[in-house]
Amino acid sequence: MANTPRSRVNLLSKAISGTHSSTGGSTLLGYIGIDTIIEQMRKKTMKTGFDFNIMVVGHSGLGKSTLVNTLFKSQVSRRSAGWARDEKIPKTVEIKSVSHVIEEGGVKMKLTLVDTPGFGDQINNDNCWEPISKFINEQYEKFLKEEVNITRKKRIPDTRVHCCLYFISPTGHSLRQLDIEFMKRLSHSVNIIPIIAKADTMTTEERQEFKQRVRKELEMSGIEFYPQKEFDDDMEDKSDNDKIREAMPFAVVGSDKEYQVNGKRVLGRKTAWGVVEVENPNHCEFAQLRDFLIRSHLQDLKEVTHNIHYETYRAKRLNENGGLHPISSSDTQESNL
């Protein structure tokens, strides 16, 4: 009898669909079907598939390729797993990208892996971040050009780097100078997720200490890694992200070999004193990283890249020379979100 929304809806639906004869109680009458939009989106996404570009940065020997293979449970990296790493360290930083289409549950994902061999390997590593920075900006530029076109493609191919995994060497002491330099310069153009590589080097106490020290250093240097505090939408997000931020950087171990442990087959590394299980949360934080990266924040990574990093780049570009037919409302800056 009260003017509840549902009763209002009842009236509306009755008015709109005249032939709509409801047999049940008031609940059925009230259902419009707005929530099916999620289902419609899902169907559409499944048809079109989506792409995800991930970049791995770190000096050679930190297990980058192995980790990516483990993350996506397939041989996606540039070097298929094998012990024969005869490739020489390149003299300058190269950018090599490999694309794969992987499918799961009817959902197709075009995964592009961008590798940066030669980073931090030279004796003189000055400016080794420049090729990487240039590459990232080039992808933004490509996207911008497509967007600004008069006749645009229906689906602009998205080659922008959505996520950059930065591998920290497990020295046990602190970040290296190169790490801080790189992250400072790139945290504003791409989502950086720092990872402690080869975590089986450290015991549990050492790991905790190292993580704390690294977090402190990152804070002191003003490096905002993903998930950035400033982009938290609401309280729920904030609390979730806070928990994640406390646990970062994740200490991971990668492996694509399986061993038998307690009757189960697990991914791991077999040493003379035991088997390091990759997916065991007591051993390393790989499972946490995978859940974070793929199962909960994949879409968010893409959105932050598109709405924030890309927009920053775009605004800067359009303000520069103004010759790119600037479209109005170019101040969709961070504050709007």
């Binding site: 930190l62 012990w83 004796i123 002491h173 549990t204 003379a272």
Partner: protein, 436 residues
């Protein structure tokens, strides 16, 4: 034939039977003297920060060189490469060992690591120089040996191969110090990865012709086998730890992981025991010898060859040169003096000859000059004479002309006179004639 051999044998045996001479105790004497003197050993550790160098040192010598009161370099952030020394006196079984650990914090940590090996090279050279100076002194009763006997180079366990920095460093230092490469934090690698990594490193070491420390071959078969086993495992993969953990009732030193305990002294787990035995128990003296005989001599000959050129310390260079050349095994001072005198005399003679030559040359020059001036004078004389003659001729010419003119004029005058006379006579005739 056999009898001959038998005779020789019996001769030797007879010698022994005669009595106990006692020189078999020579090693004991040397031993006692050395024990009293004590031993010195200097070890240098080089590697990027965080590779477990300090931990390994603590594990090797079972002391806490770096403890909470005196934290190791790893706890202090360094912006440039520094070289730090810490001395520790350890005693064991009555034998004293003055152990010096040279640490190099900051190596390979900066963004630009070019020439990060330079402070280390300078340090090694300065130690050699100190020793050289103390050897050259008049009073050299105490010669403290602070030369670097061994350099442990820590390679990061990437599993790939050597980094450009590793190769550069080892190339520059293998001629100056005994370089022993180690794989640090070996518990990162599985046994297969470790094997591959070792093979890769040895391949690269040979490719770049890096001369790492070589274990010497001995006559003993047993020892040779041990040495060969060590050589197969190069570079040694080590794990360091000083925390004691209980495993199966035993107390061992190791690292406790959630999936097991990596034991430091278990040879299946890592090569720590091999390193310790090799470094301390069997090859310490050999390391010192190689440093003294090869690296130090190289340095010395290079240094003195540069100095000899200036004539200083000439006699020293005639002493022990590097082991490669045929050395005159230390001439006696008298012979040296004789040499010197002979040299001096020879020098004097040479100087004399030179001087004479110079003198002659000067004389020749002077004579030549005089001759030249004479010729010059002669020439001038001739010229003047010519001039004079020319003038003379000119004058003559003028006179002739003048004479000619005069004679002309005279002739003219006579003619005129004749004419006058003729006219006068004519007039006279005319006057006379008029009477007719």
């Amino acid at each position: 034939m056999e009898t001959g051999g038998f005779i020789v044998k019996s001769l030797v045996q007879q010698k022994n039977l005669e009595g106990y001479v006692g020189f078999a105790s020579l090693p004991n004497q040397v031993y006692r003297k050395s024990v009293k003197r004590g031993f010195e050993f200097t070890l240098m550790v080089v590697g990027e920060s965080g590779l477990g160098k300090s931990t390994l040192i603590n594990s090797l010598f079972l002391t806490d060189l770096y403890s909470a009161e005196y934290p190791g370099p790893s706890h202090r952030i360094k912006k440039t490469v520094q070289v730090e020394q810490s001395k520790v006196l350890v005693k064991e079984g009555g034998v004293q060992l003055l152990l010096t650990i040279v640490d190099t914090p900051g190596f390979g940590d900066a963004v630009d690591n070019s020439n990060c090996w330079q402070p280390i090279i300078d340090h090694i050279d300065s130690k050699f120089e100190d020793y050289l100076n103390s050897e050259s002194r008049v009073n050299r009763r105490q010669m403290p040996d602070s030369r670097i006997h061994c350099c442990l180079y820590f390679i990061a366990p990437s599993g790939h191969g050597l980094k450009p920095l590793d190769i550069e460093f080892m190339k520059r230092l293998h001629e100056k110090v005994n370089v022993i490469p180690l794989i640090a934090k070996a518990d990162t690698l599985t046994p297969e990865e470790c094997q591959q990594f070792k093979k890769q490193i040895m391949r690269e070491v040979q490719e770049h012709k890096i001369k790492i420390y070589e274990f010497p071959e001995t006559d003993d078969e047993e020892e040779n086998r041990l040495v060969k086993k060590i050589k197969d495992k190069l570079p040694l993969a080590v794990v360091g730890s000083n925390t004691i953990i209980e495993v199966n009732g035993k107390r061992v030193r190791g690292r406790q992981y959630p999936w097991g305990v990596a034991e430091v002294e278990n040879s299946d787990h890592c090569d720590f025991t091999i390193l310790r035995d090799m470094l301390i128990r069997t090859h310490m003296q050999d390391l010192k010898d190689v440093t003294n005989n090869v690296h130090y001599e190289n340095y010395r000959s290079r240094k003195l060859a540069a100095v000899t050129y200036n004539g200083v310390d000439n006699n020293r260079a005639k002493g022990q040169l590097s082991t490669k050349l045929d050395t005159v095994e230390g001439m006696s001072p008298l012979a040296q003096m004789e040499e010197e005198r002979r040299e001096h005399v020879a020098k004097m003679k040479k100087m004399e000859m030179e001087m004479e030559q110079v003198f002659e040359m000067k004389v020749k020059e002077k004579v030549q000059k005089l001759k030249d001036s004479e010729a010059e004078l002669q020439r001038r004389h001739e010229q003047m004479k010519k001039n004079l003659e020319a003038q003379h001729k000119e004058l003559e010419e003028k006179r002739r002309v003048f004479e000619e003119e005069r004679s002309n004029w005279e002739a003219q005058q006579r003619l005129e006179q004749q004419k006058l006379e003729a006219s006068r006579t004519l007039e006279k005739n005319k006057k006379k004639g008029k009477i007719f």
